[in-house]
Amino acid sequence: MTDVPSPQGWVRSEDAPRLPAPPNTTGPVGWMLTNLFSSPMNSVLTILGASFVIWIAWGVIDWALIRGVFTGEDREACVAVPNSGACWPYVWAKFHQFVYGFYPFDQRWRVNICFIVGAVTLATMAMPSLPYKKWNALFLLVVYPLMTFVLLTGGNLNLSSATIYFITGALLFSALVVPIAAFGIEEGIQRNKLALILAGIAVAIWLVSLFVSMPEINAFGGFISVATLINLLLLTAAAVLSIGHRASTRDIAARSALLGWVGAVSAIIAVLVLVTADFGLVQVETQQWGGLLVTLVVAVTGIVAALPLGILLALGRRSKMVVVRLFSIVFIEVWRGVPLITVLFMASIMLPLFLPEGTNFDKLLRALVGTALFSAAYMAETVRGGLQAIPRGQYEAAQALGLSYWRMMNLIVLPQALKIVIPGIVNAFISLFKDTTLVLIIGLFDLLGIINASFSDPKWVSPQTGTTGYFVAALMFWVFCFAMSRYSLFMERRLATGHKRRGI
């Protein structure tokens, strides 16, 4: 640096020395100087902001900890102290109710098992470094819901004979899909005309029997309507035709279609056997559930159902098939256009009016279906945003390699699209989690509902009970939502590595 370079023909004779960075640009002091006090305006804002944060934080700490009452047997403890803060003894006394609602005391171990198993498998699933993701996912999505259902309700589900006939009919009917899956739509229909006609007659009889009462006869140890009996016979014949025809061919596609159908049907039957089996558990009506338990059941079911349904709806909305597209658009727009409260009211009050007499859906189940479909509609639009961001070249490259539609979507498009919309998806999850508080209006006691209800307990009436209760509710909701938010940030950062696109 010492010799002044002349404009032409200059060559550096020795390397310029490497010097340390100037003081106050690195380390904590440097960080504060560049980020907090870089200009007079910035310094003023920093001081104002910090004062505000300290003021709020001090208020909370003063109320919750310094003036808070921590011990006591009833309201006297909180009322006795003048100008007291949070009434914590109330929370200690009611905490079990916040978590379990009115779930029978001696049965709460069942809820605990569900909580613990759920937390452990979810945590192992969420940590990318742990192995066996496939088995973990299988457990979490198939075994765990069944286990939870049996444990929480007590299982031993009582299916009416009408329901059993309906399920049997539906399973037999599904056999018609086998030839179509094996040979494609046109050839599948061609080869299986007779079975399709039989099934068509069965569906027609079923539709008529909904409006016209049919004579009943005594069979299978009970009364069964003639229409049902004829339908079951017709559908059995149709199923035998569809499957029998397939089993005789040596075509690999036909074989795998048949195996797929057999697998699906056995899985459904296995599930039915499991939920109707008697495990000797005491039945616990969903009316008795409450608190965090209801919040988690509604939110988790909603989340787990909304994502796949939303993806299907998003794909449907972009489909070339007009009927599929129209159905998706109508579904999404109807559910999005209706407030969640209306959906819940409809599910709890209106739906029973339309259902045939005698069918009795559980109230919680109805709320679950309502929230799941509602959030699926929102999810669909989020996912569609991601799908639109994938360049057309990705579809073309996948097609040019001979990938089928579903493989292309599964392997190429969705992994990229979903990655883009992780913030949106988690946003939907978080808002769904908080929306579960609305089930209060149809008489289900979620976390907020049960805290609200506990205020009326004369044993704990005090000026601070309400504030403390709402503070705990807010804190518990915040913990779950904040965890989801942080995890989504972590996943975003993890998935972003090495994927930066160049040249596209």
Binding site: G184, A398, A400, G402, I412, Q416, K500, R501, G503, I504
Partner: protein, 258 residues
């Protein structure tokens, strides 16, 4: 021209014809983008298609693996006529590889996964076999050491070579190139062209849409000139470049050869 290709059909009835287009027409809305295209490509033949932008070259080769639908005429690829029959389309796509102007690698998969995806899912190869084949082709395009990187970490030329390897992994009978070097920086064009020349010399049936006239001279059996959706002229490279017949060809050549 229709007569010429008709003769060609008769001559090659014994399965020598790889691709056959008969009276193909295509419209984008009201716009007639392909007009009465007749073309027959023999096995092992290497064809370069050139022409001004908007002349329908890309649309033409995209019709060959049904990325675009044609509205009239026949396209027969490797004995399969392209119609709405999805099975036929799948069969054709399995045998026809395609390389795009913008590479279209899958950014969420590594180079190796890009190459093994289709063999595993479409050809039902085992993972080990697919990976061995992928490494073979990555070696052939001279980037085996990049196998575990993501496409975003490679240069344009490297990405395009991966794209070629990805197509080759499906062991295609026919390769289509849609302006493979147009999106590349000048110093990277050569490395891609070298790979393409190597492929051409191995006897692959190739159709290239490109403006690389040096490549056309070196490897093409036939050069086709398109303008306004029609085939204007086709000839051997020597004749095409030294002795163009049509005025439009002459004008085009004068514009691209300085």
């Amino acid at each position: 021209m229709a007569q010429a290709s008709a003769q060609r059909v008769e001559k090659n009835e014994a399965g020598e014809v790889a691709i056959q287009l008969l009276g193909v027409n295509k419209w984008y809305g009201e716009f007639h983008v392909l007009r009465d295209i007749n073309l027959s490509v023999d096995r092992g033949e290497r064809i370069v298609i050139c022409g001004p932008s908007g002349s329908g070259k890309s649309t033409l080769i995209r019709c060959i693996n049904r990325l675009e639908e044609h509205q009239s005429g026949q396209i027969i690829v490797d004995g399969n006529e392209l119609t709405n029959d999805l099975k036929r389309i799948d069969e054709v796509r399995r045998e026809v590889g395609m390389v795009f102007q913008h590479f279209n690698l899958f950014p969420h998969l590594t180079v190796l996964e890009n190459c093994t995806l289709a063999p595993i899912w479409v050809r039902k190869m085992s993972k080990a076999d697919a990976e061995a084949a992928a490494m073979k082709y990555l070696t052939r395009v001279k980037i085996p050491e990049q196998a575990n990187k993501y496409p975003g970490q490679l240069s344009g030329g490297q990405q395009q070579r991966v794209a070629i390897a990805r197509s080759l992994c499906m062991n295609p009978k026919i390769m289509l190139f849609d302006e493979p070097t147009s999106a590349l920086d000048p110093e990277m064009i050569k490395e891609v062209l070298e790979v393409m020349v190597d492929l051409a010399q191995s006897g692959m049936t190739m159709i290239c849409v490109t403006h690389e006239m040096g490549f056309a001279r070196q490897v093409a059996n036939r050069v086709i000139f398109m303008d306004q959706g029609q085939i204007i002229e086709q000839n051997s490279p020597v004749e095409f470049f030294n002795n163009p017949k049509s005025e439009r060809t002459k004008l085009f050549l004068s514009q691209i050869l300085h």
